[in-house]
């Protein structure tokens, strides 16, 4: 409801509605009334992190309708009469969680609200995140209150191929309202997490062999003329990976599992994003040379199991090596049921990741890695009106997100009163 353009596009893409023209017209008229394009919001702060260059001192972000109309120093941005004005200390783009399971993993942590992993088979690329995401999940609202405006979420770690991911704004009543991308990546796992729940694979090497065999099948499927093949849901998704339409997000914590991920990507030529990567600091050169981005584990991850060698300083070390680093909320089996990337990036910032790089790890770089940098991640005219206003340095424990705006809709405004 917050983005008429997007909703209208979705409506047209639906075969059902296309057959009922009158309904389309009605829906369009209703949506235009529900979200007037003329709404104007101005946010002013002592420091505006546009993430496109140096921060602006005493800056203003002007939003018209659902997008950013202007950004600049206060004396250079014309705030129209009638605009709603919010003031604070710091402004950042809406925060981007580049990898979580929120919306599939619910707050109660019982079978009926845990949909991030199906264990009936070790490789299920056909499982769609949009068929499981609950946009009205309480944890989504919780994240929104902390300034998270976009989540890349979906099937979690725990199977060689656990399923698909998708990208959602943290508003919206239905999955279509919330969706920014219905399929964003294929979720894969290497290491003990991929072997412990299945009779096979039972070992690392078997897991890699099964994945290679699956990709070989997908190559054959891709190379078969369409009229000579039947639709095959798993193969269709794997072909998207092979064709570079979506990346494979591979969770690998141990350094040898990371190397297996690099090897698979090289063999089949798909776009790889490493996630988790607790031991990435042991193979920094190899990751940099392969030009692979890392969606790093939360720095506060508990150091046990495959992540027992995690360091608080890894984000800073990868950044220093020139590797694009974003910081994920990841998957939590117990408490906290979701992590908050703002808190995690703060810990990275306190342990060697430079301030702007730490902000980028949950804004610009995160948006880049999930393929959404054309619409979110920075404060620039034409991008989505996703903005967070704080009463201090966002990374300080005691700072709050006072005002949160998503596509021009104020979704939180009393966070500091």
């Amino acid at each position: 409801m917050n983005n008429p353009t997007r909703n209208i596009r979705r409506s047209f893409s639906s075969v059902w509605i296309r057959c009922v023209g009158g309904v389309v017209a009605g829906v369009m008229a209703w949506m235009l009334m529900a979200a007037p394009l003329t709404a104007q919001i101005a946010l002013r702060a002592d420091t505006v992190h546009t993430m496109t260059g140096d921060p602006i001192i005493n800056g203003v972000v002007l939003i018209e309708g659902s997008t950013i109309a202007d950004v600049g120093p206060a004396d250079a941005v014309d705030i129209p009469d009638g605009a709603t004005v919010y003031e604070g200390t710091v402004i950042t783009p809406g925060l981007v969680d580049p990898r979580g399971t929120v919306g599939l993993s619910g707050i109660y942590n019982v079978d009926s609200d845990q949909d991030q992993l199906d264990t009936t088979a070790p490789m299920q690329p056909e499982l769609r995140a949009i068929d499981a995401y609950n946009p009205q999940e309480e944890l989504v609202a919780f994240l929104r209150d902390q300034g998270i405006t976009t989540v890349h979420t979906g099937h979690g770690p725990g199977a060689l191929i656990s399923g698909q991911t998708a990208t959602f704004k943290t508003t919206g009543e239905t999955v279509d309202d919330a969706s920014l991308s219905d399929i964003s990546a294929l979720s894969m796992t290497l290491g003990p997490a991929a072997t412990q729940r299945f009779s096979s694979p039972g070992t690392r090497a078997k897991g890699a062999a099964m994945l290679r065999d699956m990709f070989l099948q997908a190559e054959r499927y891709r190379d078969t003329p369409e009229d000579e093949r039947e639709r095959n849901l798993p193969m269709e998704v794997l072909v998207q990976v092979l064709d570079g339409e979506i990346p494979a997000f591979i969770q690998a914590h141990r350094s040898h599992d990371i190397m297996t991920a690099l090897r698979l990507a090289e063999e089949f030529g798909f776009n790889l994003v490493l996630e988790g990567a607790a031991e990435a600091y042991l193979v920094t050169e190899e990751i940099a040379e392969a030009d692979i981005p890392v969606v790093l584990h939360p720095p506060k991850i508990r150091p046990f199991g495959a992540a027992e060698n995690a360091q608080l300083t890894t984000a800073g070390e990868l950044h220093a090596a020139g590797i694009p680093v974003a910081i994920q909320s990841g998957y939590e089996a117990y408490v906290p049921k979701t992590r908050v990337v703002l808190f995690e990036a703060g810990v990275a910032a306190a342990n060697g990741l430079p301030h702007e790089a730490a902000l980028a790890s949950i804004t610009r770089t995160a948006a880049d890695i999930i393929g959404q940098s054309d619409v979110i991640g920075t404060l620039e005219p034409g991008k989505h009106g996703d903005v967070v206003l704080y009463n201090g340095n966002p990374f300080e424990y005691v700072t709050n997100a006072c005002t949160v705006v998503i596509e021009g809709e104020v979704v939180k405004e009393d966070g500091c009163s």
Partner: protein, 434 residues
């Protein structure tokens, strides 16, 4: 008694080490003065440009730089630009690979966690790296009563005896862990399946303990019974009950049990404490609470908010924060009260919550928790504001001995983590059932 033996043992150890490393080894003997820091004594206002004087493991004096008495020959330490505050007290932790009772019963009053703690576990070093000097180590919450807790001073040492912190002239070195709500319920075996059954089992046990105590005072004393002995200490107010409880109604059940049997009670976790804050305050019962980054993870914790500390404190409840390590990490303990301040908690109350309030909740406030003459020389040097994300613990001192030094890479590794630093020291979180 026991602690005197420990001190003697330590002094001997110190003498031996002193031949090898002259640096901190004589801290116990030589007076030290730390000058120029901002000092939070937690017994009065913060002191700018303060000085802390210690000797023989105790605090001699604390005050403004010009106002303290410094013995001649004191070792001068320039602490300017740093913050000094009491060593942090963690009222609820599972470091040391601790274990308690097993699945044979929901009630284990005779099981001692001192028999299940490994003080060589690197969790001890993680806690020191986080500025923690005293810990209440508890067994888990999967039982109505999982065992006797253990107070540890995180001194350098190689056995549990080196680290034990017992009450003065007493063999009692901890409390009693209890739990209600869902963790201690099970579908089968000897465990309760409902809340009412849980309470009934606990009450029946306390009745048994009352009878045992009465018999102890009679002409016909009973045979020794380890569980009953522990419970008599509870009934006598010598052993504090540390009660895991989340939901508002479970909190009231814990208060009801305490009213019936008159034991000393500290509520732990208390996730919905904000819903019954006035009732807790009226009962005069303290709360040891936790910060989690998001609500949920189980039904009982879906209403756990950052505001809990503020609401409880404003209602007049004595509030401490705990790590529940490994649920939250000892290295970042100061983050917990800081997140309370984020939600409006009074800053002084937040600092007290990890120092003197924690000491009160363990019954150790005469010895630890604030920087005052005569108290243990347990303190930390911080790089800045205790509640800032960017602040690091530079040094941790316990009884006049430095046990963590950030400038030493071997120590610092226990803060940052890294390859094979924490090997085998962490439980899988599901095993903790916390």
């Amino acid at each position: 008694m026991l602690s005197n033996q420990i001190r003697q043992a330590l002094l001997i150890a110190v003498g031996v080490l002193g031949l090898l490393a002259a640096d901190t080894a004589h801290a116990q003997d030589d007076p030290h003065v730390f000058r120029g820091a901002t000092i939070y004594t937690m017994s009065g206002d913060a002191i700018d440009n303060g000085a802390l004087v210690i000797q023989n493991g105790e605090i001699l004096d604390v005050g403004s730089v010009g106002a303290v008495d410094v013995p001649s020959g004191a070792v001068e330490v320039d602490a300017s630009g740093q913050v000094i505050m009491p060593g942090l007290i963690d009222t609820h932790s599972h470091i040391g690979g601790v274990s308690g009772g097993d699945g044979s019963s929901p009630l284990h009053p005779g099981v001692r966690t001192i028999d299940g703690i490994n003080v060589r576990n690197s969790g001890i070093m993680r806690a020191r790296a986080g500025g923690i000097t005293t810990v209440n180590v508890l067994s888990g919450s999967g039982h109505l009563m999982s065992g006797q807790t253990t107070h540890l001073k995180l001194r350098d040492g190689s056995t549990i005896d080196d680290l034990l912190l017992c009450y003065e002239d007493s063999d009692i070195c901890g409390g009693m862990k209890m739990a209600n709500g869902t963790n201690s319920q099970r579908d089968s075996g000897p465990f309760p399946g409902t809340r009412a059954k849980s309470a009934a089992e606990a009450r029946a046990l306390f009745l048994e303990a009352e009878a045992y105590r009465d018999q102890l005072n009679s002409d016909d004393p009973p045979d020794r019974d380890l569980g009953m002995e522990g419970l008599v200490e509870v009934l006598n107010g010598e052993r504090i009950v540390h009660f895991h409880t989340h939901r508002h109604d479970d909190i009231m059940t814990a208060l009801r049990l305490r009213d019936e049997f008159g034991f000393e009670l500290v509520l732990h976790h208390v996730s919905e404490g904000w819903r019954v804050a006035d009732e807790i305050a009226e009962a005069g019962v303290p709360a040891s609470i936790i910060t989690l980054d998001s609500p949920g993870g189980k039904h009982e914790a879906v209403n756990l908010y950052f505001k809990n500390g503020r609401v409880l404190d404003e209602a007049g409840v004595d509030v401490s924060y705990h790590t529940d390590d490994p649920i939250t990490d000892s290295r970042l303990f100061l983050r917990s009260p800081a997140m309370g301040v984020r939600a409006g908690m009074d800053r002084t109350a937040a600092l007290e919550s990890v120092t003197i309030a924690g000491a009160r909740q363990l019954g150790l406030e005469d010895r630890i928790g604030s920087l005052e003459p005569g108290k243990d020389a347990d303190f930390i040097l911080l790089s800045g504001d205790p509640l800032s994300t960017y602040t690091r613990v530079n040094e941790t001192w316990i009884e006049g001995m430095r046990v963590f030094d950030r400038s030493n890479p071997d120590d610092n590794a226990f803060f940052t983590g890294g390859y094979r630093i924490f090997d085998g020291t962490m439980h899988h979180v599901h095993d903790i059932n916390e």
